[in-house]
Assembly symmetry: C2
């Protein structure tokens, strides 16, 4: 049955295909054929299902769309043009310098139409799930739509999100697989066998629907059924890459290639020419978030004796629960190790258990923060490596991801190297705009976790398994970019720079050296990035011998952060030595391992002794 | 039906449970209850199914066992004791300093009974799949057995491996899920609903069997059926955490806890006391790998004109295919971008397509190398972040992982930041014992890829999308740890240090400076780790001004590698500046982006000019 509305959808789909071709040919690169396969899906979605507030793109009553197959960005931009969000000139600025219309979708100043970046495949569904969680927490009326490519269904992260959505019975989530049969270099694993994905989705507890993705009526019906269904729904849409143009349709060799200018005309002609249809998307219902209740006034955690910084992290989250109604905390089934269980105890309605699926955890976090939640996620620092791609993409999403990695370094002891975070400072420092924090006691942890709530971008807190004695009063402030100088004078012989657990080893080393009349300054570099270069510079200039001690690999860690900070502020005529973990550890006690690595007090004192110049009699 | 053999299995299972308890109580930590749930599974496996060569653990005719749930290591050690591989004293050295009997299994010198490390969950099945691939390539008779925990089934990486095994019809792979219902902090997602995993595995194309994991006869039958089945088989074994001891069995709160010494006796008593059963495992059949055929003698690739280093990488692999019959190359559905397709063209029988599943790709690689293959894996450098945990675990496995990350840096241009590797030097440098290579032209790529074939540990090659002009004759050698000094004298005003694409910008900058009578030394730091500290030191001492230029983030990259190298060799009284990518890029041409980041020839020249001291008239 062809109706007017079918005709309108088909026209809009043709326009999306044509505009994708025009934009990519103008850019000289891009993915027109991957955009054409989803043209009908986007046409029906944007014209009649995706409830969009064009006046207020941030309206929390709106639906959300996540283009997980980010390389089909031209189709998204074409749809945004059709609803009037961007102009034709903007569309044609695709991939050009300074344009928000990038090769893959990314949020950008003045371009509020993309909530999160995509382009690393398999990540969008977890992000959409996070948005759906946020809506559910707020009682918002929206639905989240995620468009996936068939190739990216090979990413395990997709199945993590499918699992979590079913487990948590997230009904306001619809995933659409653009089953166009062709990947980057040939056929996908399953080609057009959509029943494969249907059966799997059902075995994971989803509702699944198979349709012809170029039949607008089928698409429309599936979208309506998906929204009505109480379970998360996967729509497997059989499509054709390059649909509508004879020399592109279902042809190998056209992935990620713009049509040459001399063939563009005939391609557009086959699609019925250039159009300028405008559609008005459905509006979100009139809904506003409920006003937040009275906040609890309670004193922050304070510690008289030793406490593990991981415990102080959990205590602080639990305390903040009463002050920050926007706070949400995510666990990867280690909440009794990271101590997020303290938050879960007081605010279970704002805790999300994602089990052992770190990629999903960070994806969900990205979705939550896109809808205004202040989201923390925690696991062992070693296992955050599992989500490094998601965290990297968080940078491009301009996401505020508040991460905690516990069980840092060899100081965890007997569990052995698989559980030890030894590369986390390097990988987290390397992220654009990130903040890397590593407290040494309870008081500093409380302040730093509190500060993280308002930090933009990626912030990473490294915590320690063992209890450490208090160093600071609970009133002490810990500004981002700062450090604390302990036990120093202007005439110190050496400066010992530590962070976290090694601060305590440095203090003990200073005490050993003091018995030999060697005065050591101790610096607690609780903020590894941005490093307090001015304090490091002063320590260098005043002592001429810096020993940086870290429970981390030497490459990319605190030592190199200090070196970089010093190099930026002038020459380094003194000695800068880094003591870190150079070899491959095994199981042993924390004390044995620190001695083995040479980051214990005794080795620090020995190395300091060897490098300071003998002083004359005083 | 209780038979003698049932009695023997049950006795052995009780011994494994008891020995796990003894070892963990002796250590004061560990996971006895997780070991007890799989005691019958290991008893039947080690006594009657796992074909083991006790005289020659490396025998390629043997079966292989991967303990994916690495925290149940005590059960593995107890089974190894039962077959006579280790002594009771070794068992009781669990988690103590210097012992190979670590908290989680890891290969160790003099301890050939563990092929690969585990302890980061969800990784073992892909590793087992890699071993199964190796056996199939060699025509070896073995079967691979992988023991999984139920909690780790939430990791998407498990489903990637399930998908790949089914797609490639790998029949010699058996996975066993130890369905003990309890995770670290409470119930798992699916508890004892084994049919959930059965149905899913079947929907992915596996054979699935549900059994009672404490009924040795059922276990035995399932193992026989699994080996006979032509498809990969998942055995879902319902078990009980802490099985056999009333105060531990199916109880919350005992995860990862040793039984206190004062309760050990009663626990052992409930299990029937300490035993010293010895079992002789089945032997592998008499089989030897076939002798390798005649090797092809062909000249290596050589380039007269510009070539992309990614293309030279692929060409070199294709050339090496004829020289190295042990060479296997893995692709994550980007072989036409990384150019592994060149190898696939000449040696399809040694190419494995793993589609867009980078975690699985590196897991398979780890398994392949454990059985003697020289395995390369390649994808975009940005997407190798997806497998960072697997690569990290590769270090602990002492695995030789030869990795290539293509599309490095902002120099990819229009595709935008999601596709740009900008943190890879930092993350790869931070791995213990790694080698990080970044060639600037075709000739150096050929030599470095060839060298990678014989490098131990993690080696990483960073390649560039764009073609770059030749810098070296094909006869030039590129030792690991070296660098090349281009266009330098002993009286240079400044040294420009680049790697990969930035070497060319440095050369162009030196040419600009030459027109102003400023002589610049250019150093090609093709080996980022280990860095050529001696050459950097000489450049520093002779020029007093070093500019390091990198298409990477400043943190943890080439600049910090140079700073570390210099700091180790003496004071840095000169100036060391690093030009890298500080801000968040968008889409633009490569040239525009390099200018935007300030790593183009013109900016390099400008920064050099600003930092060198004016020379007097010559």
């Amino acid at each position: 049955m062809v109706t007017d509305r079918t005709e309108r959808w088909n026209e809009l789909a043709a326009q999306i295909a044509v505009d994708g071709l025009r934009a990519t040919t103008a850019a000289g690169s891009g993915h027109p054929t991957s955009s054409m396969s989803c043209a009908h899906l986007l046409a029906v979605l944007f014209a009649d299902h995706l409830r969009t507030d064009l006046q207020d793109p941030g309206n929390l009553a709106s639906d959300r769309f996540v283009m997980s197959k980010g390389h089909a960005a031209p189709a998204l931009y074409a749809a945004l043009k059709a609803v009037g969000a961007i102009s034709d000139a903007e569309l044609l600025s695709l991939r050009s310098e300074g344009s928000p219309i990038q090769g893959h979708p990314a949020p950008s100043t003045g371009f509020p139409w993309v909530d999160v970046a995509s382009g690393s495949l398999g990540q969008g569904l977890a992000v959409g799930l996070g948005m759906a969680f946020a809506m559910r927490m707020d009682g918002a009326p929206g639905n989240v739509w995620v468009l996936l490519g068939d190739s990216e269904m090979a990413e395990g992260s997709v199945w993590e999100a499918i699992e979590a959505a079913a487990y948590h019975q997230v009904g306001n989530l619809t995933a659409i697989v653009d089953l166009n049969r062709l990947g980057q270099r040939g056929a996908t694993m399953h080609g057009w066998k959509g029943e494969v994905f249907r059966d799997r989705a059902e075995s994971f507890g989803w509702t699944a629907i198979q349709i012809d993705g170029h039949d607008a009526e089928q698409v429309d019906r599936a979208f309506r059924d998906a929204v009505a269904d109480e379970r998360p729904t996967l729509i497997v849409a059989r499509t054709e890459k390059g649909h509508g143009v004879s020399f592109l349709a279902n042809q190998d060799g056209w992935h990620g290639k713009a049509v040459p200018a001399d063939r563009l005309g005939s391609a557009i002609e086959e699609l019925g020419g250039i159009r300028d249809l405008r559609v008005e998307p459905p509006s979100p219902p009139d809904w506003k978030p409920v006003a937040l209740g009275e906040l609890r006034a309670a004193p922050p955690p304070a510690y008289d004796g030793p406490v593990a910084t991981r415990k102080a992290f959990g205590d602080t989250l639990a305390w903040l629960a009463g002050h920050r109604p926007d706070l949400v905390v995510l666990d990867g089934e280690v909440g009794n190790s990271t101590y997020t269980e303290e938050f879960d105890r007081v605010a279970p309605e704002r805790s999300i258990q994602l089990f052992i699926a770190e990629q999903c955890m960070v994806g969900v976090q990205t979705g939550l923060q896109a809808l205004g939640k202040t989201a923390f996620a925690a696991t062992f620092g070693a296992f955050l490596t599992r989500a490094y791609d998601q965290i990297r993409m968080g940078v491009i999403s301009k996401a505020d991801l508040r991460l905690c990695g516990s069980h840092a370094g060899i100081s965890i002891g007997e569990d052995g190297p698989s559980q030890m975070a030894l590369e986390d400072l390097a990988s987290m420092r390397a992220l654009q705009g990130s903040t890397v924090l590593y407290p040494a006691d309870g008081a500093s942890t409380v302040k730093l976790v509190t500060a993280m709530c308002d930090l933009p971008g990626i912030s990473y807190l490294r915590t320690t398994r063992e209890a450490t004695p208090p160093l600071y009063p609970s009133s002490e402030e810990f500004p981002i970019g700062g450090s604390k100088t302990l036990a120093g004078t202007a005439h110190d012989d050496v400066a010992l720079i530590g962070a976290g657990i090694t601060v305590h080893e440095c203090i003990a080393a200073a005490e050993i050296l003091a018995t030999e009349s060697i005065t050591a300054r101790v610096i607690d570099a609780y903020c590894v990035k941005p490093i307090d270069a001015a304090t490091m510079r002063r320590a260098h200039d005043e002592t001429r011998v810096l020993l940086v001690v870290e429970d981390h690999r030497v490459e990319g860690g605190l030592g190199e952060a200090v070196l970089s900070g010093l190099a930026e502020t002038g020459p380094l005529s003194g000695t800068v030595l880094t003591l870190g973990v150079s070899d491959l550890p095994g199981s042993a006690t924390p004390e044995q391992l620190r001695a083995w690595a040479g980051i214990d007090a005794s080795t620090i004192a020995e190395r300091a002794r060897a490098h300071i110049r003998p002083r004359g009699p005083t």
